[in-house]
């Protein structure tokens, strides 16, 4: 007889409200039975970024509806579930708290065990869910809120090699789009503009490449782009379409070069450990950028490592990854009480020193 585990996952740490059901039968790969995501992009579009209070308000009134939809799509009821997994951090605390409270309500009402999940562990374990890649693998997590290199050794065993000391690349793409009057989210719109631009016309900085570590910085790049834009506007009274495309191409080239070089360094550290099947995985919305992806593929090929990127819907924020990470924790015996804490800061790697810029409360993520 095969034993199977079915987990409901909830996610609400940023601007996507999500619920999903994942099932794993003995010996088989885990399967996503449903993955429902209610986005909030239009709620935040006027503000030039995610407004935490607006996000929290939307999560509080959508999460339960999202759960209903996910159960329906999966064709399961609470009786078919083995546990409820929920993102307990890191993230925008109002949203995380709504998710945690909703999950606690479900757990108390149904008697199902509750499992708190680190959002970053969700992203970092996704390549196991989608491609069953073996430990240890090198993970580049690159999104609107995060940017870090991790060696993933087990479901709860991560080593952070480095990460951004200020902004995440996705945030820089969004800011670039705002500065140039392009639509949000900035990733796809800046990429589309960059395709018709000359990446060599403007030379933007590649910060921290002079340092041997795996840390990154993107805030200076945003400033450099704004200065260049202002200089052109001061000269001409505005931008031409070509200026805009060239600015995008120059910006994107700087991000690509930086990520490629730092990935090369992270790979050197990872390959020194002689992994049996060297693999680099990428997750987060920025992984959808084709120029970045192509550069990473080249770096991996040069180093003799395989490259894998989960499909976009499982790369960006979703609850299937939370259900899956919860399933792994559940299998290892983890259970949380109804006093589970929602945490704004929760670094995956608790032992590596906090990155510069983390503030006095320590590492955020």
């Amino acid at each position: 007889m095969t034993q199977s585990l079915t987990i409901l996952g909830l996610e609400s740490s940023c601007d996507d409200t999500a619920a999903a059901v994942v099932r794993q039968s003995d010996g088989d790969m885990a399967k996503v039975l449903s993955s429902v995501v209610f986005g909030q992009t239009e709620l935040h579009s006027a503000y030039g970024g995610v407004v935490p209070e607006i996000a929290a308000r939307a999560h509080a009134e959508k999460l339960d509806l999202c759960v209903i939809e996910a159960l329906k799509e999966a064709g399961v009821s609470f009786q078919d579930l083995d546990a409820v997994a929920v993102t307990a951090g890191p993230g925008l605390i109002g949203g995380v708290m709504s998710g945690v409270m909703c999950a606690k309500g479900i757990a108390a009402a149904t008697g199902l065990p509750l499992v708190g999940v680190n959002h970053l562990a969700g992203h970092a374990l996704t390549p196991r869910l989608t491609d069953d890649i073996p430990f240890p693998y090198l993970m580049l997590l690159v999104s609107g809120g995060h940017c870090q290199y991790l060696i993933v050794r087990g479901p709860e065993d991560f080593t952070r090699l480095g990460g951004t000391i200020d902004d995440a690349p996705g945030e820089a793409f969004d800011k670039t789009a705002r500065l140039l009057g392009l639509p949000q989210p900035g990733g796809p719109s800046v990429q589309a503009e960059a395709e018709t631009g000359d990446p060599k016309r403007f030379r933007f900085p590649r910060p921290l490449l002079d340092r041997p570590d795996c840390n990154l910085s993107f805030s200076g790049l945003k400033t450099a782009l704004m200065r260049m834009r202002d200089q052109i506007v001061a000269e001409k009274g505005g931008l031409t379409r070509q200026d805009r495309a060239d600015l995008c191409a120059g910006f994107q080239a700087a991000v690509v070069d930086t990520l490629a070089e730092k990935t090369r360094r992270a790979l050197t550290i990872y390959m020194d450990e002689s992994p049996a099947i060297p693999t680099v995985a990428v997750a987060g919305g920025v992984a959808a950028n084709t120029a970045i992806r192509a550069a990473l593929q080249t770096v991996c090929a040069d180093a003799g490592a395989a490259f894998t990127a989960p499909p976009l819907r499982l790369c960006t924020d979703n609850a299937a990854m939370i259900a899956y990470a919860g399933l792994e924790r559940f299998k290892s015996g983890a259970r949380d009480g109804l006093d589970l804490t929602a945490r704004p800061r929760w670094p995956l790697d608790q032992t590596s020193p906090a990155l510069i810029g983390s503030g006095k409360k320590g590492a955020k993520a």
Partner: protein
């Protein structure tokens, strides 16, 4: 004869965790813990304690009443999110009760403290809104009502449970927070440059 309905009421809209268990008109158990933070961790264990005192379990409940505010935004969401999760799992009605109903008292103007010397209040014949404290105080005096926005939350959860008992058969939608104040957010200051070649 059918047993009288068992209803759990709770509220975390200010610096407290409050819960009460009611069977019909009888208050079975009650708890009120003042706290400025930690409601998200404390609420569910507190509810289980109140149920245990009443010798009941979640499955015995016929309805839930939850305080929807106005008040502390995060606090309101803690209670409402928990209530909505409970409603999903228990398949029982959850009644959202606003802070004015829960504090209604003959001869007084129900008002709830808000930041920056303001209160949330419903002046006679008006919809509830955020207003300067002085405005509410003047209106109360003019209408011959007492005005005590800092009233203790004692009895709040029991009143929420009482109202939920009355309304449990009329629930059509899940409870929603009553904020009465927009999120603090300013539109983006980035003004994109003009395209000179259109």
């Amino acid at each position: 004869m059918t047993a009288e309905p068992l209803v759990l009421g709770f509220d975390t809209s200010a610096a407290h965790c409050a819960a009460a268990l009611l069977r019909g008109d009888t208050l079975v158990a009650e708890a009120l813990e003042p706290m400025t933070r930690g409601q998200a961790e404390r609420l569910m264990p507190l509810l289980e304690e109140v149920l245990a005192v009443g010798g009941a379990t979640w499955d015995d409940l016929d309805a839930i009443g939850v305080g929807v505010g106005p008040g502390n935004f995060t606090g309101i969401r803690i209670a409402v999110s928990a209530a909505r999760g409970l409603a999903l799992g228990l398949e029982i009605p959850v009644v959202g009760v606003d802070g004015f109903e829960a504090r209604a008292e003959t001869g007084s103007l129900a008002a709830i403290p808000a930041p920056r010397d303001q209160v949330y209040a419903a002046l006679p014949g008006e919809a509830p809104r955020l207003m300067p404290r002085q405005e509410a105080e003047d209106a109360a005096r003019g209408a011959g009502l007492t005005f005590a926005p800092e009233a203790s939350p004692a009895g709040l959860a029991a009143m929420i449970a009482r109202i939920a008992t009355q309304r449990k058969d009329d629930v059509t939608a899940p409870p929603a927070p009553l904020y009465l104040r927009a999120a603090d957010a300013a539109p983006s200051r980035d003004v994109p440059p003009a395209l000179i070649d259109g």
